[in-house]
Amino acid sequence: MPKSDTKTAANRKDLFSGLVFVGIAALFAGHSMVHTIGTPLRMGPGFFPLIVSLLMGMMGLIVILQAFRSARAEDPEEDQHPIPWRGALLTLGGPIVFALTITGLGLVPATALIVIMGAFASRDMTWRGAVLSTVLVTLGCLAIFAWGLGLPLRLFGTWIL
């Protein structure tokens, strides 16, 4: 791999992560103004987070600086694989969908729903495999959480019954 490619890859990682840190730091530091900061010896709720966000911002800046320096010795074997958009959406969407539907659909359908989502997160999933997984995992969750632990969750929610 030509040296310039590795250099760009290293730069991007550092650059972006540095930007994220600086960005979040700015967000928190800015929001600190809403809370009383107080003095170092009589700290208000905004004091400590303000200091920490400033420190984090500094770290972020250092990381950005490192991005522009000579190529860091990153693992050359570590290619950057493309982001698995479908997988990410389905996996991260799972908890969100569950949260939205748990009271409406109830435990059984909501669990089944997110399990199917998780099943199709992998590109190589077949319909047969998905159905099998869904049935087994939903039953398993039922057994553990509803029956085993006796959590007060409705099996079928208000939209259905």
Partner: protein, 503 residues
């Protein structure tokens, strides 16, 4: 000495009654299961089972409840090793090197080492409780807010060693963790901080959900990156048990982890999490194979797992000997005892010798049961790794989601979990590791709480941290740690400059 032996004998006879053996077994079994399940933890389980204990004798009740607690420490490391999903936040550290070992086909060795190390730690911790419970307890009491502050500072400095990549990024992740930890209600004024107007953030971020998100979910996304054909075949499992070389390497870390964990566990508020992180840092510092850490060093599993378990056992000491609960779980157990009419405290041991010594003995027996339970299971667990990944994802997703929801039945926890999973994944792609974030999240708010409280107590005088001997010592250690970490780098920089100058 005679007294001691007769007490131990009393304890063993009490613990080995059929009823108590049964409850011990039930406790550790449930505990292991709960530890394996992401989300629901020992605290919620113990609370759920509390009504059951009303009908039991106090001894049996405490035996069962404590079994659940230290049993969950065993269980939590299983999923951490297998799928990099810490079932309990305390197992997060094990997930770092443990999972790497699993990827290299050494899951069996990792699991077995964790179990053996935990058993050793449990045994030693039990002995320590028997011998030095009262002095350890008074040691714990001498820790006030300034001492805790200094301890936490020391802990945070070690967080840098948790990452095997860039230390700057590790520090940044630690700070990020601290900031996430500050979101929620402020202890002193009761107002909401950094919730940005979102109701869902008002109760702050939940630790287990966060750990699952940044370790487990982010890891899933990472694994989904590689298309099936290119996915590295999980190396053939090279034997189920640790080799002799493994055991030799794991030996000292187990011992060190045990003592570190025993000490930290006694301090109310410190707990198993700090113990495992501290052990990891210690082992990395002392190891002659530093580069291996983060890529499957067995010391990174043996030490933290032992520390974990030792801390879990010794956290009983303040509760039993002083009536002072060290963490939420101890508080529930204290409540269980009080309801039964038993008052833990300095007179507890002499007033209820059967109960005290019986519980101590059962702790050791429980650890033995856990070892016997877990070692054969290693084979089964390892088989799980052979399930095609496309099936593992829905299982993990399903159990994590329902598990996290079951903690408090808050939809907010799930939204946060999804969000943090995204952030964790993105940062992971950019070379920032999750472990320092978790440590920052746990320790940051503690540090702030103790800092503010110390300054309130000292009426604004910052010298309080240096005037108290323990606190001053800890801060000195922290300073030494910083210097030790920075100087090799400075020396290298200087060497580079000299070389460049000469050329």
């Amino acid at each position: 000495m005679e007294d001691l032996l007769s007490n131990v004998a009393l304890g063993l006879t009490t613990a080995m009654s059929l009823t108590n053996l049964f409850y011990c077994f039930v406790g550790v079994l449930v505990g292991t299961a709960v530890g394996i399940l992401p989300g629901l933890g020992p605290l919620a389980t113990i609370a759920l089972l509390l009504p059951l204990t009303f009908g039991m004798s106090p001894t049996s009740a405490l035996i069962m409840l404590s079994g659940i607690f230290y049993g969950s420490q065993y269980g939590g490391s299983t999923t951490a090793i297998l799928i990099k999903l810490p079932g309990e936040a305390a197992a997060a550290v094990t997930a770092i090197d443990g999972h790497q070992m699993a990827k290299k086909g050494r899951a069996g060795a990792a699991l077995a080492t964790a179990a053996i190390g935990s058993f050793f730690a449990g045994t030693v911790a039990t002995v320590l409780i028997v011998l030095v419970a009262p002095p350890l307890a008074s040691f714990a009491l001498s820790f006030g807010p300034p001492e805790y502050f200094s301890l936490v500072v020391l802990g945070l400095i070690f967080s840098v060693t948790l990452a095997h990549g860039s230390p700057t990024k590790a520090l940044a992740m630690t700070f990020l963790g601290i900031l996430i930890g500050t979101m929620g209600r402020d202890i002193y004024t009761g107002e909401f901080r950094y919730t940005f107007g979102l109701t869902l953030l008002e109760d702050g971020v939940e630790l287990t959900g966060l750990a699952i998100a940044v370790f487990g979910l982010a890891e899933i996304l990472r694994n989904l990156e590689t298309p099936v054909e290119q996915r590295p075949v999980v190396a053939k499992v090279k034997g189920l048990f640790p080799t002799r070389q493994d055991l030799r390497r794991a030996g000292l870390p187990v011992v060190r982890g045990t003592f570190l964990g025993s000490l930290l566990g006694v301090l109310p508020g410190a707990g198993a999490i700090i113990a495992s992180f501290a052990s990891y840092s210690l082992e990395k510092r002392l190891s002659s194979r530093k580069e291996e850490f983060g890529h499957g060093a067995i010391e990174g599993v043996a030490g933290p797992e032992s520390a974990n378990n030792a801390a879990a056992q010794t956290s009983f000491i303040p509760m039993l000997t002083l009536g002072v609960p060290g963490n939420a779980i101890m508080a529930v157990m204290l409540g269980a005892l009080l309801i039964q009419g038993i008052t833990p405290g300095p007179t507890f041991i002499s007033a209820n010798p059967e109960l005290f010594w019986g519980v101590i003995a059962s702790m050791w027996l429980g650890n033995l049961m856990l070892l016997v339970l877990n070692l054969p299971l290693v084979g089964i667990w390892v088989k799980i790794l052979t399930i095609p990944y496309r099936h593992l994802v829905p299982i993990i997703l399903g159990v994590c989601t329902v598990g996290t929801y079951s903690i408090g039945l808050h939809a907010a926890d799930l939204y946060i979990m999804a969000g943090m999973g995204l952030i964790g994944y993105v940062l992971l792609r950019w070379g920032c590791e999750p472990a320092p974030l978790i440590l920052g999240f746990v320790l940051g708010p503690l540090m702030e709480e103790y800092l503010r409280r110390s300054l309130i107590i000292s009426r604004g005088d910052p010298m309080i941290f240096f005037q108290r001997p323990i606190s001053a010592t800890l801060l000195l250690l922290a300073l030494i740690a910083i210097v030790a970490m920075v100087s090799p780098r400075l020396r290298r920089k200087r060497a580079e400059i000299i070389v460049e100058g000469e050329s």
